[in-house]
Each structure stands twice: as structure tokens, then as C-alpha cells.
């Protein structure tokens, strides 16, 4: 298991490849990558991601460990950035490896649902007109947790 919280970018290709290479017996590998999307079609200048340094690493490790136990994963990877990111920048990725595709998919969705609502990150949208809005948590994200 590897959990990395960093301001710097990450190399999606190299991370995906290294993760897959480290679990040759796994059969099924799923990755999810989150990208800063310009939700307002041209209005977003940057996304600022704040986090709680003393808590983030251990919260993510606990989530990853739970995914590994529940789905008997061969391995799991979580990388999450913080700081100022521009549209198109990659915010985070998770990767899961399991014997069968169903477990790898479910574990990756579980990780994402928890990262959305239980990992100590907060996003602020900086808009072209000078506005800066904290992204509100979505009811749908909170609801997504209930299926696990």
C-alpha cells in the first residue's frame, strides 16, 4: 500500500505502469484519475486545495487499509495533491489490484467515495471574475457512502 499526499504533480503513466508491474498475479487493475474541470466553461482560473496535514496521511492510510481488507486486494495506491491547480491538472489518483475485476472496481469506487467525503481536503474555486467559492459538499457524495 502506498499513500502519497503532495503538492507536486504526479506522473500518471509512470505510476499506473509501476503499480501494475508490482502486482503481476493480480489479474485486474483499476485506476481512477481526477482532473480539475472547468465546471463553468471558462470561468475557472484555479482550484485551491487545502488539507489538514496532521490528519491527511493517516486518514488516507486507514481508508486504503480498509479497502485492502474488504476486497482482499493485492495492493492499493492513493496519490492526492493539495495547493493551487489549474484546469486540466490532475488532482489525484487511486489504483487497486485484485484477482477479479469486480473487486478491483468496487474497491476503487469505495476509495473514491471515501476520499470525496471523509478525507480532510477542501476545494476552493477561483473564478475569472475574482470570486472565490468553497466547493460545497454534495448530498450525492454523502449518499454514495451509504452503499458500503
Amino acid at each position: 500500500m502506498r499513500v502519497q499526499v503532495q503538492e507536486a504533480g504526479f506522473d500518471l503513466g509512470a505510476e499506473s505502469d509501476a503499480f501494475a508491474a508490482s502486482v503481476p498475479e493480480a489479474g485486474a487493475i483499476v485506476t481512477f484519475t481526477g482532473v480539475v474541470r472547468d465546471a463553468d466553461a471558462g470561468g475557472l482560473v484555479a482550484m485551491e486545495i487545502e488539507h489538514y496535514p496532521a490528519m491527511t496521511q493517516k486518514a488516507l492510510e486507514a481508508i486504503a487499509q480498509e479497502a485492502i481488507s474488504r476486497w482482499s486486494l493485492a495492493d492499493a495506491l492513493v496519490i492526492h495533491r493539495y495547493g493551487r491547480l489549474v484546469p486540466g491538472a490532475r488532482i489525484m489518483m487511486v489504483a487497486t489490484a485484485a484477482r477479479h475485476r469486480k473487486d478491483a472496481f468496487e474497491a476503487a469506487e469505495f476509495l473514491m467515495d471515501y476520499l470525496k467525503s471523509r478525507a480532510p481536503f477542501w476545494k476552493k474555486e477561483i473564478l475569472a471574475d475574482g470570486e472565490a467559492d468553497w466547493v460545497a459538499a454534495k448530498d450525492a457524495d454523502e449518499d454514495a457512502l451509504k452503499r458500503w
Partner: protein, 82 residues
Amino acid sequence: MMDIVYFAWVRERIGLPREQVETSAATVADLVTELAAREERYAAAFADLSALRVALDQELSDFDASLAGVREVAFFPPMTGG
């Protein structure tokens, strides 16, 4: 002495990221009542507890929880990671 940390709009509304307070509050709710009574900016930040989350020593908790033995209390809005 207890460390209190604030994130996102809670930090902005209160105007600081961290402070130390002398408190004998037994629970998180008691601590919130003490803080909200201090100044308008605290009252504003703590006006709607359903819009807030709390972590005790970096573990998610709730407003009923005891503060016994706790060194760091964090207040923040619902998280928006991923």
C-alpha cells in the same frame, strides 16, 4: 491548554488557522458554546453545526464527544476531496 485548528471557510470566518485555548469544556458541544460566546466572528462560524465537522486528535468525531485527554480539536466544513 488545547490546540484548536480551523480549515476552509471556518478558518476564513474566524480569521485564524490555529489557536490555543484554556478550557474546561467537557464535550465538543461545550467547547463550541464557549467559542461562540467569544465574538461575533466565532458566533458566525458556529451558527449552524450541521454545516460543520469536527476531528479530535485527527480522527473524525462528533459534537457529543468527550474532550477528555484530547489535545487537538479541528473544526471544518464537510470535506470535498477526490
